[in-house]
Amino acid sequence: MFKNLLFLLLFPLFLVSCVKDTDLDQLNDVVITPVVEVNFIYFTLQIDDFQADPLFEGNLIVTDTADIRFLNDDFALENIKEAEFFFRVTNTFPVGLDANFIFLSEDNQPFYEINFPIQMGEDGTPVVTEFTQTVTEADIELLTLNDKVVVSIHLQSSNQNLQGILNLQSKTIYYLEFSDL
């Protein structure tokens, strides 16, 4: 009785109601592509921070290591499609320097590296060097194998009485992609 009544009441609406021109399978085509900018490493160096470079006689070097734990986690592996590192270095040392960033995996294997020269200061006047390195889609897998970075600054002089300051600031732009939601 109830079923028959319900059927009688609902049937006319079922006849006229429908969902048209709509394809829910398009959910599979949803791709979220945020672009996120975030600060990276920064530091300031003076001559006292440098030590004699054991590998290159006549040079000074300073080295430090920082974990970047998120870089090799599942989120990064699956979703970072490209990245762009931007460095801005302000230097008053009257000599050239080289910046070297080696990205290491969990078992300390180097899979990605960034190198660029830093211009020398002029008579104590700060000189700004800007450098951008794009990690293309082809190389991104090499970057996301790593979870730490070794930062080295090579000073092209052995004179430990040099006057100057080096300030490095940096950011990374991550081009993310979320699909297969």
Binding site: S17, V19, T22, D23, D29, V38, Y42, K171
Partner: protein, 471 residues
């Protein structure tokens, strides 16, 4: 997970006016109309709802976007561009809601003093989520193109209730013209969640150059989620399979959870044989969440400047500073996430109805129409009127206005057609039909009939149906 969120937003969504029962309001042939106005006219002496079938109400809506807006088959745009367009066209006051009510038991009787008592139990789920526009932009596009833009964390605003309501009401025609009614309610909450008073901003700004490229500033953040009845369900140690979940929910549904009390009040005034005015206040009450409460709060300010290397002089084999760990610790210290167990109180969403209607036409019933005899005889077989509705929601009250036409076609069948303007649309046409087949009463109503040609284009949909016995 993201897929689930999208599906929930697009489909669970239905209106906060889901709570608006413009079709049922004032329809005295249906006993459940006493749930929307306890002071309504009661033209029968007893009723008994068919258990679990006496009232089913489903309603959902989205004030800013339809399923068609996103999932239309189009050759000129893809789904991603349509989602982008929807994100930017919607406002943070747009909302998605879902409401469902299922009456378990319902009965009523008139006593010798002409009081009509009614009582019952119904289960209700009600959820509202405002569109978190700034967070959606941040998630969809990132901060790259939004340097200096302050993302408002307060856009996160959602609440939901799943509860059982035990109610008892009394209705009496006090004079020839005035009918009053009241209903006392006890709420038994199965679960509740609420995150409605969030504040703070997140902004990325170019720094002054002294530290790093940017300042990523989390400013005066205070985000809180309050839950009750949910923590035991997600604790693997407590829950072992669906059976445990059902037992837990059933226990809480029948007065074993957090309790609350509330009251409905209503009145109907028969101005003359043609004009009737009525009003009701529903769910003036609160639920007191004291057990199985788990709240989460993150608050503080922080400027993420990056990793500051200090190149310490190290001996062979000596470790440098744990910069990353220190950064994580600093963030946790500046913006701690606390788990709290303090009780909280949630006001029920108060609803107000008001209506005025004009009856005309030849009446049905035991008495002949005597249109010149005030207060005697049944009302005419037709009526037109206007109904106003307000529900108090976390951000602001929401309103709806309805024009209706009612017609009784015969002794046993009547219908009401409504035209409603609300946040969802300006052309919501609804229809409810009521039949009295002997003692058997049946009703069914639908909203948004103009969208039945393509339901995907509807901002909201609702269905109400039920079966009763009336004497």
């Amino acid at each position: 997970m993201i897929r689930l969120v999208i599906i929930v937003i697009l489909f669970s969504g239905v209106s906060s006016f889901s709570q608006n029962k413009q079709l049922l309001y004032g329809l005295s042939e249906v006993p459940q109309s006493l749930l929307v106005n306890p002071g309504g006219i009661v033209p029968y002496d007893k009723h008994f709802g068919i258990p679990f079938l006496s009232h089913l109400h489903l309603n959902g809506g989205s004030s800013g976007v339809t399923v068609y807006d996103i999932f239309q088959t189009s050759t000129t745009s893809d789904i991603n561009s349509r989602i982008t367009a929807a994100i930017f066209s919607m406002k943070n006051t747009d909302f998605f809601t879902a409401t469902q009510q299922l009456e378990l038991i319902s009965f009523g009787w008139r006593n010798r003093s002409e009081f009509y008592f009614s009582a019952g139990i119904y289960q209700e789920f009600d959820m509202i989520t405002y569109f978190p526009k700034d967070l959606a932009i941040l998630g969809w596009e990132g901060n790259h193109n939004y340097i200096d833009y302050e993302f408002d964390l307060g856009d996160l605003n959602t609440s939901g209730d799943f509860l059982t309501v035990f109610h008892f009401g009394a209705n009496k025609k006090m004079t020839d013209k005035l009918t009053l009614g009241a209903r006392f309610k006890v709420y038994s909450s199965v679960f509740n969640f609420r995150s409605t008073n969030n504040q703070g901003t997140f902004v990325t700004r170019l720094s002054d150059g002294t530290v790093n490229i940017y300042d990523h500033l989390l400013q005066n953040a205070d985000m809180q989620v309050q839950t009750s009845g949910i923590a035991p369900l997600i604790d693997n140690n407590n829950v072992n399979g669906a059976g445990d979940v059902i037992n837990h929910a059933l226990g809480r549904a029948f007065l074993g959870g957090n309790l609350g009390v509330g009251i409905d009040l209503g009145a109907t005034y028969e101005i003359d044989n043609n004009w009737i005015a009525s009003a009701s206040i529903l769910d003036f009450g609160a639920v007191f969440h004291t057990n199985n409460v788990e709240n989460y709060r993150a608050h503080g300010s922080y400027n993420l400047t990056g990793l500051n290397l200090i190149f310490p002089p190290l001996q062979e084999g000596e470790q440098t500073f744990p910069y990353y760990q220190n950064l994580e610790d600093e963030i946790k210290e500046s913006v701690p996430i606390d788990t709290l167990y303090n009780s909280y109180t949630v006001m029920r969403p108060l609803k107000i109805n008001a209506a005025i209607q004009y009856h005309f036409g030849r009446s049905f019933g035991n008495q002949d129409c005597d249109c010149y005899s005030m207060g005697k005889g049944d009302f005419g077989s037709q009526a037109v009127g206007i109904q106003l509705y307000t529900i108090f929601r976390p951000k602001a009250p929401q309103y709806a206005a309805t024009l209706f036409y009612y017609r009784r076609f015969a002794e046993f069948i009547a219908a009401k057609i409504t035209y409603t303007v609300d946040h969802f649309s300006y052309d919501n046409v609804g229809l409810m039909a009521v039949g009295d087949f002997g003692k058997f009463n049946v009703y069914i109503g639908f909203d948004n009939l103009l969208r039945y040609g393509n339901l995907a284009k509807a901002n909201s949909l609702s269905l109400q149906l039920g079966f009763n016995l009336k004497y």
